[in-house]
Every structure is written in structure tokens, then in C-alpha cells.
């Protein structure tokens, strides 16, 4: 089939131009800015080399908190979001009446925005009239009632529970789809061989869910690395910067304190961490779709 060489480029052009303007060029520009000290308005930028990066790690204590919180958030998400998602999927993977209703209930929060979830849960945690403290009072645990979001010891955990409610439906649906592709034969064979239920789970279900695990792991990890909306809308990084994460601290450094260099360095750290997960993931998915 004869085709003029420029023709594919014509079809690619709109996507390519927008992609270059919105993502590619700005990202390179941010990398460049991360080597400068700049307040965003002054005509002159001062080249400082890697100073913005070393300064973050050596002198910015809030960055330390943000990094630690982000890692905790990733660990918590991998453990609880994936764990509960799998548990719900296993519970729903049976011929049950009302299965679709249950699935709908667990998945529904996932379609809401982080801001909505944050607003709902801030009200749940309201110190005087919120559901959590009211319930504690009505069962005689007044002493447990507290200002959940105003105490640095409980704030991050409280936001995380809201995020768990928000995000659990996604791995659940993916696991459910994965479970449905497992044929019945291996289970029947195992039962004939006298295998116990937990053994079939360990030796058949989990290994056959490997692909689903890879997808869920990658998407959960990336989402947890980038967590922003729910934290910003619930605590804005407070109290006393105790719930800052990399994304929110980047926002403050850049748009509140006008430390463009530091903010850019934080974004580049986010890029690096994301690449570690996404590159193998993309290779995995594209290789599979080639077959």
C-alpha cells in the first residue's frame, strides 16, 4: 500500500503538539528549574547546581516528614488497600443474591472526588458533632473522643482511613475480574487430591492471580505516591505540617513560599520514584499486549 510519508504525522500532529506543550516541554523545564534558585517573578534565576536537592534532604525537616509520610502512605496502601480489596473480592466471588448491590456499595466511593471524600470525612471526624465521637460517647467511650484531625498523632491515620474507604473498590474490582478468569478444574483436581480450602487458596488462587497482583500493585503504588487531593482538602498538611506528603509540600514550596527551585526538585524526586515502578509495569503490559 503506497502512502505518503507525511500522512501518519498529520494524524499524530494534534496529540503530539498538545502533549509537547502540556507535558513534555514543561517537565524538561521543571528539571532545569530544579537547579536554580528562583522566586517565580524575578527576571534572574541563580544557578545553584544540586543545592535544592541536598537542601531538601539535609535541612528541610518538613520535607523529611513529607517523605516519611509518603512512604508510610505507600506501605499502608499496599497492605490495607490491596489486602481489603482482595478480601472483598474473595467474599464476593460466589453465587450470591445481591452480589451486584454489594459490589456497587464497595465500589461507589471510588467514583467520588478526593475533595468530596475529604469533606464527608472531615464531618465524620468533627470533634463536637461528628459521627465518630458521637458514637464513642454513646457507647461510653467519651475518653476516646478527640479532635482526630487536629492532633498530629491521629491526623494522618484518620485521613488514611478516609482514603481507604475511597479507594478500596478499585483493587476489589480488579481482583474480582482476575478471580473470574480462574477455571474450576484446578480446584476440582485439588479437592480430589484431598487439598484443604486454605491450601487451594495458597497454591491455586494466589499464583493464578499473579497478573492481577502486578496491575494492582503498580496502580496502588503510583496513586499512593501522588496522593494529594484528600490530604490537601482534609488537613492541608497540618496540624504542624504533620500530614504533609511530597505532593502537598511541593505545592506549598512552589505556590505559597515561592521557592520554585525547591518545589521543582520535589517534583523531580516524584518523577524518579514513579519511573522506578512505571517503567517495568509498562514493559510488562505492552509486552503482553503484543502477544
Amino acid at each position: 500500500m503506497f502512502m505518503r510519508a507525511w500522512k501518519p504525522w498529520l494524524y499524530l500532529l494534534p496529540a503530539l503538539v498538545i502533549y509537547l506543550i502540556v507535558i513534555f516541554v514543561p517537565t524538561l523545564n521543571t528539571l532545569y528549574l530544579s537547579f536554580f534558585k528562583w522566586n517565580g517573578v524575578a527576571p534572574d534565576k541563580t544557578f545553584v547546581g544540586l543545592h535544592n536537592y541536598t537542601n531538601l534532604f539535609l535541612h528541610d525537616t518538613v520535607f523529611g516528614t513529607a517523605l516519611k509520610n509518603n512512604l508510610l502512605w505507600v506501605a499502608g496502601s499496599l497492605l490495607f488497600v490491596i489486602g481489603f480489596g482482595l478480601l472483598l473480592a474473595l467474599l464476593l466471588n460466589a453465587k450470591l443474591k445481591g452480589r451486584i448491590v454489594f459490589r456497587g456499595v464497595f465500589y461507589f466511593p471510588y467514583v467520588l472526588s478526593g475533595v468530596i471524600v475529604a469533606t464527608m470525612w472531615a464531618w465524620m471526624y468533627n470533634p463536637t458533632q461528628g459521627f465518630v465521637n458521637k458514637v464513642l460517647e454513646s457507647v461510653g467511650l467519651e475518653s476516646w473522643a478527640q479532635a482526630w484531625l487536629a492532633d498530629p498523632r491521629t491526623a494522618l491515620g484518620a485521613v488514611f482511613i478516609a482514603a481507604l474507604w475511597h479507594g478500596i473498590g478499585q483493587p476489589m474490582v480488579l481482583f474480582l475480574a482476575g478471580l473470574q478468569t480462574i477455571p474450576a478444574d484446578p480446584y476440582e483436581a485439588a479437592i480430589i487430591d484431598g487439598a484443604k480450602r486454605y491450601q487451594t487458596f495458597w497454591h491455586i488462587t494466589l499464583p493464578l492471580l499473579r497478573e492481577t497482583f502486578i496491575i494492582v500493585f503498580a496502580t496502588t503504588f503510583i496513586a499512593a505516591m501522588k496522593v494529594y487531593d484528600i490530604i490537601y482538602a482534609m488537613t492541608a498538611g497540618g496540624p504542624a505540617e504533620s500530614t504533609q506528603v511530597l505532593s502537598s509540600w511541593m505545592y506549598y514550596q512552589t505556590f505559597k513560599f515561592a521557592n520554585i527551585g525547591s518545589g521543582s526538585a520535589i517534583s523531580m524526586i516524584l518523577v524518579l520514584v514513579s519511573m522506578v515502578i512505571i517503567i517495568p509495569y509498562v514493559i510488562f503490559t505492552t509486552r503482553r499486549s503484543h502477544v
Binding site: 494524524y11 514543561p26 509498562v282
Partner: protein, 278 residues
């Protein structure tokens, strides 16, 4: 199927666990519905679990008008209605070139677009802000749409390319023999066959655009241009102590998403798995 045949006792336990968990999941929703339907006086004086004595529908009208939620929702709707179809069209054109046109650079270009999937939005904000300010696009529909289009492109191309590849090449040859040019082949063969992938993408793109917060927060500074996420946040900031009004506002902003979700639940649940798997 990995479904196990279990005794009635196990089935009952399974139901019991599911019902308890489902009720727990519904608590925040029920609590906010109760709050939205109460008056502030009733909220303070009667127990939190009491049904609203006289539903205060007026809270919703107040949030809709006074809280300017109508304006935020209108803005978001306009952005979604242009961005989603336009974005998918642009992504489909690109995916078509990458899969159906003999083109030496197609794999390299695909990899180049995929790089965009690993760039967190944060890494683009400052230069984009400078660009949008210089071009006068801050706080405008074209400005925010451009940014949303950009961030949709890598994933859209990823999904559509995966789907287009699965369409047999014989169809192209048949279309070619019938005298179809590239553009006709795209419109008459590839697009109609790709409706399942496009439907999934429409829904996900709509939800992602509707719920987007960070870009809207940075690039929309005028209140009258705000979308529902940033608008709800300023609404919340202005009514910090008015919990009934705030709850009504939250419920209003849930309704459009809930409607889309209930109408297309099938696509959400099956499409998600398909979309992620590529």
C-alpha cells in the same frame, strides 16, 4: 470459575460479613444525608442518629444558589462536554496512525507518548503556569481544557492503540479494495469497531475530568470559572460552621457522578479491568 461450593453455614457467614461491611461503608453517606436534611437547631439539639424531624429541602436550594454550586457545576459540565469527546478524537487519530499506517517511527512515537504516563502533574505546574499566564489562558475554558487534553493523551493512546491492534488487518484490506482512503477507513471501519473501548474511555475520562482537583486549583484563579472540586472547597471554606448547608452541597456535587455511575455501572466494573489491562 473460582467459585467454591460451600455449606449453608458458610454462605450465611459470608452474607453476614458482607452485610456488616456494606453497612459500615454506607455510614458516611447516610450520616451526610441525615445532616443535609436537618436544620442547624435540630442538628445541635437532637441525637445524631435521629431521623430528620422535618426534612429541610431548603438546604439544597441554598447551597445551589447561595453557595454558587450551580455555577461550578455548569463550568465543570462545559469543560467535560468539550474535553472528553475532543480528547478521544485526538487520541484516536494518533492511535490510528500508530497502528494502521505504515510508519517507521510508530513504536518510538508510542514509547514517547507512554513517557507521559510516568510524569506526575506536579512536574509540569510551574512552566505551565508561566505559559498560561503569558498567553492569557489562566482561568479560561480553553486554558484548562488544553491542560486536561494534554494529561489525557498518554492513557488514551495507550488504551486505544491496544484496542486498534486487536482489529484484524483483513478489514483494512477489504476497505482498501472497496476504495476507502485512510480517513474513510478510520471513520467507517476502525471507529465503529472500537465503540466498547471508546465507551469505557468516555466514562473514565468524564469521571477523571469531573473529579480533577490539582490542575483546577492552580490554573483557575477566578471564582466564577472554578470547577466543582475547587468550588466545593471554597464553598466549604465559606460555611465552615454550617454543617447542614455543607452536607447539602456535598450531596449536590455527588448527584451527577452518581447518575453517571448508576447508568454505566456495567462499563465501570468490566471496563476498568479491560482498560487497565490494555
Amino acid at each position: 470459575m473460582g467459585e467454591q461450593h460451600a455449606s449453608p453455614v458458610l454462605v450465611s457467614i459470608r452474607y453476614a460479613v458482607l452485610i456488616v461491611l456494606a453497612l459500615l461503608f454506607l455510614v458516611p453517606i447516610v450520616f451526610i444525608v441525615f445532616t443535609a436534611l436537618k436544620s442547624n437547631a435540630e442538628l445541635a439539639s437532637r441525637p445524631f442518629y435521629a431521623l430528620p424531624s422535618e426534612p429541610q429541602w431548603g438546604n439544597f436550594a441554598k447551597a445551589w444558589n447561595q453557595g454558587r454550586l450551580s455555577m461550578y457545576i455548569k463550568n465543570t459540565l462545559i469543560i467535560c462536554l468539550v474535553k472528553v469527546p475532543l480528547g478521544i478524537l485526538i487520541e484516536a487519530f494518533a492511535a490510528y496512525a500508530l497502528t494502521r499506517m505504515k510508519f517507521r517511527w510508530s513504536n518510538a512515537m508510542f514509547a514517547f507518548f507512554l513517557v507521559g504516563m510516568m510524569i506526575p502533574m506536579q512536574a509540569t505546574l510551574v512552566p505551565l503556569n508561566v505559559f498560561l499566564n503569558k498567553t492569557g489562558l489562566v482561568s479560561t475554558y480553553p486554558g484548562i481544557m488544553l491542560v486536561y487534553l494534554g494529561f489525557g493523551i498518554p492513557f488514551g493512546i495507550f488504551v486505544l492503540r491496544g484496542f486498534f491492534r486487536a482489529i484484524p488487518m483483513e478489514l483494512d484490506e477489504a476497505a482498501y479494495i472497496d476504495g476507502c482512503g485512510d480517513f474513510q477507513k478510520f471513520v467507517k471501519v476502525i471507529l465503529p469497531l472500537s465503540m466498547p473501548a471508546i465507551a469505557t474511555l468516555v466514562i473514565f475520562d468524564f469521571m477523571a475530568t469531573w473529579n480533577e482537583f490539582l490542575l483546577a486549583q492552580i490554573f483557575i484563579t477566578k471564582d466564577e470559572m472554578k470547577t466543582i472540586t475547587t468550588g466545593l472547597l471554597s464553598f466549604k471554606g465559606e460555611h465552615t460552621a454550617n454543617y447542614t448547608l455543607m452536607s447539602a452541597g456535598v450531596l449536590i456535587s455527588i448527584v451527577p457522578v452518581l447518575a453517571v455511575y448508576l447508568a454505566f455501572q456495567r462499563y465501570f466494573v468490566s471496563g476498568l479491568a479491560g482498560a487497565v489491562k490494555g
